[in-house]
Symmetry: C2
Subunit: 410 residues, 2 copies
Amino acid sequence: MDELLSKTKNSQKELLLLNDAERNKCLCAIKRGLLDNIDSILKANEKDVKKAKENNISPVMVDRLLLTTERIKAIASSIDSIVALPSPINLVEEEIVRPNGLIIQKVRVPFGVICAIFESRPNVVVDIASLCIKSGNACVLKGGKEALETNKELVRIIKESIAPFVCSDIVLLIESTSRETTKELITKKEYIDLLIPRGSKGLISFVCENASIPFIETGAGNCHLYIDKDASLEKALSIAINAKYQRPSVCNAIETILVHESVASSFLPMLYKEFSSLHIEMRGCPKTRKIIPVFEATEEDYYKEYNDYIVALKVVASLDEAIAHINHYSTKHSEAIVSENKEAFEKFFTFVDSSCLYLNASTRFTDGGEFGFGAEIGISTSKMHARGPMGLKEITTYKYKICGNGQIRK
Amino acid sequence: MDELLSKTKNSQKELLLLNDAERNKCLCAIKRGLLDNIDSILKANEKDVKKAKENNISPVMVDRLLLTTERIKAIASSIDSIVALPSPINLVEEEIVRPNGLIIQKVRVPFGVICAIFESRPNVVVDIASLCIKSGNACVLKGGKEALETNKELVRIIKESIAPFVCSDIVLLIESTSRETTKELITKKEYIDLLIPRGSKGLISFVCENASIPFIETGAGNCHLYIDKDASLEKALSIAINAKYQRPSVCNAIETILVHESVASSFLPMLYKEFSSLHIEMRGCPKTRKIIPVFEATEEDYYKEYNDYIVALKVVASLDEAIAHINHYSTKHSEAIVSENKEAFEKFFTFVDSSCLYLNASTRFTDGGEFGFGAEIGISTSKMHARGPMGLKEITTYKYKICGNGQIRK
């Protein structure tokens, strides 16, 4: 493994020599490569899907894994949006001229080598490789075993496509999919500059507990929706349905709805009617259960990321109680307030300590694409380095270039 | 400890309610408090110094610990430069208006609670508390046992001074100075958002190995000076003397000088003459030792941060060899090139992977004050979140505030 990683690290220098137009050429070549190899990708994917079915993997997971001609075309064309983005590299973010004549420039630069560890969905391979190339980073990819054949074929195509423009070692797929390999990989500080674990809670905790390389925690999403006393209940209802029901398995779906007591008796019956007809299981606090006939919510429920058609409900006496609840139980991902009261939403924005705070909109928008970042490399729940959806800028760092003419310190 | 930390975390909300003018009032009150209490500070410091002498601590360390009226005045007036800085808080760094009408603002906010763990120098207490208050952060301070009495008195004055303006719990000194306390402290994820270890290598490694809270590594400084074939040898010599001799115990002093072979026979004798007269011990590679009579440098020497009047020398065949040497041995702190050749220094700037890169200037300028940041909270050698000197902006993070009028995701 050291030999492969060392090659990747060394090849990253080549990326530093390319300008943005040249890096875009690599991306366009990858797009063409994918479109020219649809058949071979489908064939590789078939093997993975067949094995998944043999292993009785859930239909939802098989669907995450499955590629079709349509889906491959969509993956390929998502590269266009990355090509179109301005490159963050070599941007002078600040220039300080000191009294002694030193000129200090703060310049955005690639991290170096980024290692992404992820599960199932094969589009992640293309997204992350494209974002890394565009931002001057080499990448080490380690996917899950369920998608191994597909990932191998995708990486083969990526390497073949970029070879005319840059050393193809800048993209490395780790083909061993065991936890032991992961454990080894996440300590290779001399070759890897940044780790991004992306996937299940189990995978992410494993990386965070065992890594000696700096990492950005992603994905845990215990998100909240708070219906204020001054809310439009129509907006509240449509946001609640969207944020819980549209795609419950994702991290930006909501898990708990907090309702101000002064609107609880009007809002909760509306919600109950809609959620019942959508077969969403509701679990409520004692105050909720005085208004609508739902299961009891335990303390544990409020900590849970259900990723399912289940929601916890709680009636709160005040905005302050809502804020305190969110700051206590949340994973600092995304939270929304529905309110027409400026004082209320400004307080919510100031005191809720999460990455993405919404006024009168669904938490489902926390997504690189929806933010206009092109693809995303993950959604950070950390407060250090990057928060929320991470695009190109978030996988770069900076250095100071300081020009003098002989200055020494007095 | 949990009770104290919980109080600190809760009190941080009060800081969010203050505007910059009000936070500055706190800082000005601290300055006044220090100047009004010089006698009591000196008295407390006397106890620490007496104990240090009894414990046969080295004169250099005693000097680091010692406060005088002059030094207290200097510490107090350094607060002025922090007051004068613009506040990074609530700055809208980006505003994205999406086609669906969502307005996404990226807004700079405090981390929350910052914990600094440091050794000896008592000015650190005032610097860090001031930077934290200015940036809306509460702070937990843990100093070394040698400075305990001084630190206690300084924190007493700080708390008393800010009490009319904000809850004084926003500044907490941990009075137990044991390693066990540190070990416990650096896992208190529920109360602390960011750890900054500042001090000896031993302290920093201890924190990095045992922390479960995100931290920024600081201070390790194996810095290099490279004399290019197109260098002005006069500039090279004065920078070499300044960067090695002016204050060898600090992290931004150089440890190794790399000399291009085409100027080695002219430069090394000049260097030898000056360094010998300054009693700087020189250790060189075989090529160096053919030119000047110095000790032999081992492989180990090139890894060392001497923090002393010792320097390693190496003759290199090319700029590429110099860059490869630096990227291999450096701690990614600060490196300088002396050259009049644009192509050479641009290559150095592009390929050397360190935080601060100097052209024709001493590495000794890597310092928050010298960069115009007011005081500094430390010098990062990490590539994540912040690099180089860390001032106000580096102890903040951001959140996204997203305003809609009922948007849901399709």
